[in-house]
Amino acid sequence: MNAATLFGLSGAALVGIGLYGFVTNPEPLRKILAFNLLGSGVFLVFGVVSRRAAASGLGGDPVPQAMVITAIVVAFAATAMAIALVLRLLQETGRSTLGADSPGDTDRVSGNS
């Protein structure tokens, strides 16, 4: 097994770990954290794709690397927005929960602004 495969497998594992944390952890902040772990696993898969395609004197294919840079910045922006939502929710309700998982109860959602 070469180094690229090793990091690729750990990327796969990180996706699994992050996904588990994302689904099972009820606290929004922890969900956001797990999302970042999941994301970094995905980025590692890009890294492996790039490393494997090393050619022309480059250590890796630069195209996936550029994509990861774009995606890291997008993930940061997403994290910032999610945390802003959590903080606002805290301000409004003193709590930071996502509420019940069944949005079926009609009274919690009202109509127009």
């Binding site: 497998l9 954290l33 772990l37 022309s56 990861v68 840079i69 003193g94």
Partner: protein, 313 residues
């Protein structure tokens, strides 16, 4: 087994261990710190994957900025109402099986590479000379796939607008609720006076070196953002209100110049986002300089969070 392999295995085990402890930690604070450490370790992993550009981005954004964002949030959530929802064991188990399935699928995909691994690296290098750039990643970001890079800047602006738009109406136009260090601390002040000049030099260096070696506007911009935040946290500079006349022009100057050069390409070169022959490098450097500023301000304000105080008259 080579010494590289031993190093890599150690690194991977450490990364996975920290990741699991981050998910499993009882305390949110411990989880966040685990995440910061994790980000720093990942940048070493990226070095090992021969992706120094990404390593720089990960060190700055993944470890530094995201960590700081989360630490700010965790401190404020500390006394928030707890969470009474608990997930039952069977559901946890089912989720674990599902996640293992996803991970296994990915592992299979990783373990079965195509016989001849296709790559765009030769094509990237072949055409790179035309642009005068030396860094192939910068070439992809600003020459071949410039459209993605441009749109991603719009994503940053939108995310910032999204964060701002959460504010109650009463504080619109006001000041982001960045928590500053409450005590006037001489040591922190000292750091906030000494580090930013160094940081600015590093940012300029990153931006300048990005054309030929790893680095560029993203990394430079992130360093700028961090230095700005440091100065604000230490109380040396006030957090600006979003109504400041200089703020929004600075935020859009990068994407606007990028867009303008792109459009000019329709007339002066062959296509949208094409550069006139011979002018590619100076134009790209100009775009990168403007983007460094815009990214710096945007990331700083994103980390500063939603508006919380009305503007003082």
């Amino acid at each position: 087994m080579t010494i590289f392999a031993v190093f890599d295995i150690g690194l991977v085990v450490l990364i996975l261990g920290i990741a699991v402890s981050t998910i499993a930690a009882r305390d949110a604070f411990a989880a966040v710190i685990g995440f910061v450490v994790y980000g720093l370790l990942l940048s070493i992993a990226w070095v090992r994957l021969a992706a120094v550009d990404v390593a720089l981005t990960e060190a700055a954004i993944g470890g530094g900025m995201t960590g700081m964002l989360m630490l700010g949030a965790v401190a404020r959530l500390r006394f928030a109402g707890g969470n009474d929802i608990s997930i039952s064991l069977p559901v946890r188990f089912a989720t674990a099986v599902l996640c293992a399935l996803v991970a296994a699928g990915l592992a299979i995909a990783v373990l079965s590479p195509p016989d001849a691994i296709p790559t765009l690296a030769p094509m990237v290098m072949e055409n790179l000379a035309q642009s005068g750039l030396g860094n192939p990643v910068a070439g992809v970001l600003f020459v071949y796939r410039a459209l993605d890079t441009l749109l991603e800047k719009v994503v940053l602006i939108l995310a910032l607008l999204g964060v701002w738009s959460l504010a109650p109406d009463s504080v619109w136009g006001g000041i982001p609720g960045l928590r500053v260090y409450a005590r006037r601390s001489s040591t922190l002040t000292f750091l906030a006076q000494l580090l930013p000049p160094v940081g600015i030099v590093v940012a300029i260096y990153m931006c300048w070196v990005g054309a030929k070696e790893p680095g560029g506007a993203f990394q430079g911009g992130t360093v700028l953002a961090a230095m700005w935040l440091l100065v604000m946290i230490a109380g040396l500079k006030r957090v600006p209100s979003i109504g400041q006349p200089w703020l929004r022009p600075l935020l859009v100057v990068g994407p606007v110049i990028f867009l303008a050069i792109g459009l000019a390409g329709m007339v002066l070169a062959n296509a949208f986002l094409a550069y006139p022959p011979g002018y590619a490098k100076p134009l790209i450097v100009a775009v990168e300089v403007a983007l460094t500023l815009s990214i710096g301000v945007a990331l700083g304000l994103l980390a500063a969070g939603p508006l919380e105080q009305a503007q003082q008259q």
